[in-house]
Amino acid sequence: MSQEGILKVENLTKYYPVEKGFLEKMLARTKHFVRAVDGVSFTVQKGEIFTLAGESGCGKTTTGKMIVRLISPTGGKIFFKGVEITALENEALRILKRRLQIIFQDPYASFNPRMKIGDAVGHPLEIHGIAYHEDKRKMVMEMLDRVGLTPAEKFLGLYPHQMSGGQRQRAAIARSLILQPEFIVADEPVSMIDVSLRSAIIDLMLNLRKDFGLTYLFITHDLAIAKYISDRIAIMYLGKIVELGDKQTIFSNPMHPYTQALLAAIPIPVPERKRKVSGLVGDVPSAINIPSGCRFHTRCRYAEKACEEKEPELIPVSPGHYVACLTEH
C-alpha cells in the first residue's frame, strides 16, 4: 500500500460566510461561518472504493466537490498522484479534469434538457479536443454500449426526458467515463433511483472499475449500500471524520459512539425484529455553532468532562482503523 495513494487530502476545509443583513453586518463584531468541512484528511489507494458516509449536512458532498474542484477549498491541500492540485487554474485545471470526474446524485437534473444524450455524453470529448464528428460518435456509442444502454444507436438521439431514471444514471456514468479518467467521485449515485434498479447500477460501477482500472470515492448516507460496495469507509459528522476503517471492521467493531448509533438505526428488513436502542439524544447541532471540544459530545452518552474541552484527533486503534474519540469504552 503506497503511502501517498492516488488521492490524498490534507486538512481540507470549506467555510461559508453566513449571509447577514446590512444592519447586522454593521453591528456584528465577529463573522460567522458555516463550517461545512472542518479539517478532513484521508488517502485513497489506487483501485479501491473509498466511501465517505454520513448524514445530510456532514460535509461529504462538499468534500467530494472540492476534490474535483467544483468548489474551491477554504484551506487544506489536495494531492493527486503525488502532485498538489489545490490551487490549479485555467488550462492546468482543465487538463486535470480529464483525470478526475464526478457522477451526480440527481439523474433528472444532471443532463441539459435541450441536449440529446449522444451530444451530452460526447461533449467532453469536444471540450478537450479529443474527438469530433464521426470519431466522437463512435466513441460515444461504444461507451453507451458499455454501460448497458443498447442499442446505442437509439439512445444517441434521445432527449433526457425520454429516458428513465436508471437509464439516465447509466448515461451519466458513460459521460463521466468518456474521458477515461482514473478517479471518479460518485455523489449518492443511486439514492434517487428506484430501489429495485439500484443494484444494477452498483454492479455496473463495480464492473467498470475492473475494466477501466478506476478508483472511486463513493459518497452516501445509506450505510447499507456502503457496506455492499465499499472497501474502506470514513464516517463523517459535522464536517469531520470520526471513524475510518475497512468495511469489515467498521461494521463488526464500530468504536465511535456516532458510528454505533448510525449502525443501530439502520432498518433491517426482517419483520418483528428486536430493535437495538440508539441512545442518541438531541439533534445535530448547526454547522455555524459547532460545539466546543469534541463536536459530538452534546449527544454522546459516554461524554466526559474532557470531551467538552479537547477536540479529539483521529488515532489508530488497530492497523487501518482510526477513531476520533477521547473516551475508553
Binding site: V68, L70, L93, R94, I95, K97, R98, Q101, I102, F104, Q105, D106, A109, S110, F111, N112, P113, R114, M115, H123, P124, I127, H128, A172, R175, L179
Partner: protein
C-alpha cells in the same frame, strides 16, 4: 423548416387553449404583416394621393373607411400604414436581443460585482416610464426609423436582462451546468450550449411582448409628433390627424388606424400569452404517484 410548420400547427392545436392563443395571435399578426407587404398591390387607391374623394367623407360603399381631411382614402391608408411601425418594431426587438441577451447571460452567470453593477444600471433604466425615456432619447438622437427603433430598444433592454437573469440564476446552480464545468467546459461554451438553450423559451416570450410594446410606443411617439417625418402613410400619423378631427365628428380617421394598431399589438400579445403558458405549463398534469 417550412414543412415542419404544419405538423407544428397541429400539435399546437392539441395543446388546448394556450395553443389556440398562439395560433390565433400568429394568424392575426401574420395577416397584418402580409397585408402591409402586399399593400402596393391591394390598396384600392394611392394612400398618399390627395383628393381622391371629397374630404371627410364618412364610410360608404365607395370609401369603406371614409376619407380624411385632405381627401385621402382611409382604407388605402390603413392597408399601407403599418410599414413604418413594423420596421421600427422589428429593428428595436433585434437590437434589444443583440444587446440584452448576451449582457444578461454574461452578467448573471459571472455574478459578483459585475452583476451587481449591471443590475443597478438596468433597474434604473427599467424604473423609467418607457414612453418618457423614448421621448428623451428621440429628442437627443433625432427622428427617423432607426433612431426611433434605438430609443425603444434602450427602453426594453432591461426587460430582457431581468428575465434572463432570473432564469440564469436558477439554471446555473443546476447539476447539468455543474456537470459541464466538471467536464472542463469554458464559460463561453457553458453559456452558449447549456444555459442559453434553456433560457430561449423565456426570451421568445419577452420578444413577443416587446413587439407589442414597441408598436404601441412607436404609435405613441408619432402621436405626440416625434415620429417619422417622411410622407409615408402611417397609422400613428393618422392617429394624430384623426384626433384633431374627432371633435368635429369625423371619427373614422382615428378609429380605423387605431383599431389596426390595437389588433397588431393584440396579435403579438396573444402569441406571447399562449407561448408563455405552453412553455411554463401549470401543474396538475401527470398522475400516478
Amino acid at each position: 423548416m417550412l414543412s415542419s410548420i404544419f405538423p407544428g400547427l397541429r400539435s399546437l392545436a392539441k395543446r388546448g387553449l394556450a395553443g389556440w392563443l398562439v395560433i390565433f395571435g400568429a394568424v392575426l399578426t401574420g395577416a397584418i404583416v402580409v397585408m402591409t407587404l402586399v399593400s402596393p398591390w391591394i390598396s384600392p387607391h394611392d394612400p398618399s394621393a390627395l383628393n381622391v374623394g371629397h374630404p371627410l367623407l364618412a364610410p360608404s360603399s365607395q370609401f369603406p373607411f371614409g376619407t380624411d381631411d385632405v381627401g385621402r382614402d382611409m382604407l388605402s391608408r390603413v392597408i399601407s400604414g403599418g410599414g413604418t411601425m413594423l420596421q421600427v418594431a422589428v429593428l428595436s426587438v433585434f437590437v434589444c436581443m443583440l444587446v440584452g441577451v448576451p449582457l444578461g447571460l454574461f452578467s448573471s452567470y459571472t455574478g459578483g460585482l459585475v452583476d451587481r453593477f449591471a443590475s443597478l444600471i438596468m433597474d434604473s433604466v427599467y424604473a423609467f416610464p418607457g414612453l418618457v425615456l423614448a421621448i428623451a432619447i428621440t429628442l437627443v438622437l433625432g427622428r427617423g426609423v432607426i433612431n426611433m427603433s434605438l430609443s425603444i430598444a434602450v427602453v426594453y433592454i432591461p426587460s430582457y436582462f431581468r428575465v434572463i437573469r432570473s432564469q440564469v440564476l436558477s439554471i446555473k446552480e443546476l447539476p447539468y451546468v455543474e456537470a459541464a464545468n466538471a467536464a472542463g467546459a469554458k464559460k463561453g461554451t457553458v453559456l452558449s450550449r447549456y444555459v442559453l438553450p434553456n433560457v430561449l423559451p423565456s426570451i421568445v416570450v419577452v420578444a413577443t411582448v416587446n413587439f407589442a410594446d414597441a408598436i404601441l410606443t412607436a404609435a405613441g411617439l408619432t402621436f405626440i409628433g416625434m415620429g417619422v417625418l417622411v410622407n409615408v402613410p402611417d397609422w400613428g400619423w393618422d392617429l394624430t390627424n384623426g384626433r384633431r378631427l374627432l371633435p368635429s365628428g369625423s371619427w373614422w380617421v382615428i378609429a380605423f388606424p387605431g383599431l389596426m394598431i390595437i389588433l397588431l399589438a393584440l396579435g403579438f400579445t396573444l402569441m406571447g400569452e399562449g407561448l408563455s403558458e405552453l412553455l411554463n405549463p401549470r401543474l396538475g398534469e401527470e398522475g400516478g404517484k
